[in-house]
Amino acid sequence: MIYLDSAATTMRKPAAVALAMQRAMERMASPGRGSHRPAMLAAETVFSCREAAARMFGVDQPDNVVFTSSATHALNIAIKSVVKPGDRVLISGYEHNAVTRPLAVIPNLRLHVAKTPLFRPELFLERVREELQNKIDAVICTHVSNVFGYVLPIADLAALCRDRRIPLIVDASQSAGCLPVSLGEWGAAFVAMPGHKGLYGPQGTGLLLCGDCAVRPLIEGGTGSASERQEMPEFLPDRLEAGTHNIPGIAGLLEGLRFVEQMGSTKILEHERRLALHAARGLERMAGLEVFFEQGLQNQTGVLSFNIESMDCETAAERLGQAGIAVRAGLHCAPLAHQSAGTLDRGTVRMSLSAFNTLYDVERLVNAVSRINP
């Protein structure tokens, strides 16, 4: 199987990830719940993971790195901490349902969408400047579109938000591990990310990086601290980490972070871009194919959408699956992104890469597409 669905989850992980998870299941208990060796070993692993994430993502204190079960979980905490009923919120036209659905349940929300064409960051910033002339209470933006790999100009957007003291929430689901992500440099209120994509951790892990904003817990429960009080502790990370931690997951994530740190996110991005560009050029040469990419991929990561004009995208993905190529098709839980790009009625086939893919993998994809293309 050639796996080209890493924007959903990176299936191939560094070998150390599974070993760490197994070790955690065999030797670690629950951190903060005892002074015995298995509890303390778990606590050490959790703290090492917080420190590694804080170092990688420009977070001053490891306390401000919160473990979640996914980026969706992290985004829910962030959105429900920042956005109040009746607020005006500005989002990009490339948001995932993990952003738009939590917003949809907030009463009387006034949503402003900066809908601009693909791979045109300058138009996006222009539109944002116009929108910020309204009284905007919060800005939420994805760093990279999960459908098209389009890199949004987050550093510039963050500067605009900082100047106006507007809280910014960044969805780094597709950028963590391959692009520079820095809570501190951006001055963001929150940055949310999964552990199981570009950070090469296991499924069921996510991170929420917390800035200076007040945080509202999504769930309440035991934290191993301030137990006599019935209110959740005021301090991080305990305030947002009720219940038993996913220790095998966190142990695996720590190894994933070490892998990214060792390999270097720039090198990973260069590798993925080189392969994506190779695939894009190979697909572009075929008649009857629409490929969504920009020459040179300056504003794009290793995520590439395409359509075979005479074939439904789900049929194409199914046929590729039968040929041993794993890709994803449809709306990718991001109807807004498809609306912005003009593909809402058709969806797209998406291939997405990881550090483990090779040139052979993308050549196999191109060959397989040429065989199913009528």
């Binding site: 951190p31 903060g32 005892g34 002074s35 303390m40 606590a43 050490e44 703290f47 917080r50 420190e51 204190q61 490891p62 306390d63 934290t223 191993g224 601290s225 301030a226 137990s227 006599e228 009080r229 502790p233 301090f235 991080l236 990370p237 305990d238």
Partner: protein
């Protein structure tokens, strides 16, 4: 200079100090800073009778390293909630900082 009053020091038979922290992560941060400064620091759950809010963690350090530890922690903005001294008889006494 030790923050403990001289008279108090004479009254108690010092074994070790416990720096009480609000959370496990805070205790881990404190212990990491102390270890980097060459001070042996051991993390433990705070004894129930001195844990004012039910559950907390503490960093245990040797009796000789308290002043230095507090200075190191203060330099990085990690102020402990409280500090206790454990006597040979097993009793705890809060140290005025």
């Amino acid at each position: 200079m030790l923050p403990l009053k001289r008279q108090e020091r004479m009254e108690v038979d010092m074994v070790y100090y416990l720096i009480i922290c609000r959370s496990l992560t805070f205790a881990q941060k404190s212990a990491a800073v102390l270890e980097r400064a060459g001070i042996t620091a051991h993390i433990m759950r705070s004894p129930k009778r001195i844990s004012e809010t039910g559950c907390s963690h503490a960093v245990k350090i040797s009796e000789r390293r308290l002043a230095e530890s507090l200075q190191v922690l203060s330099r990085v903005g990690l102020s402990p909630e409280r500090v206790y001294i454990m006597s040979a008889d097993g009793s705890y006494k809060e140290v005025s900082l």
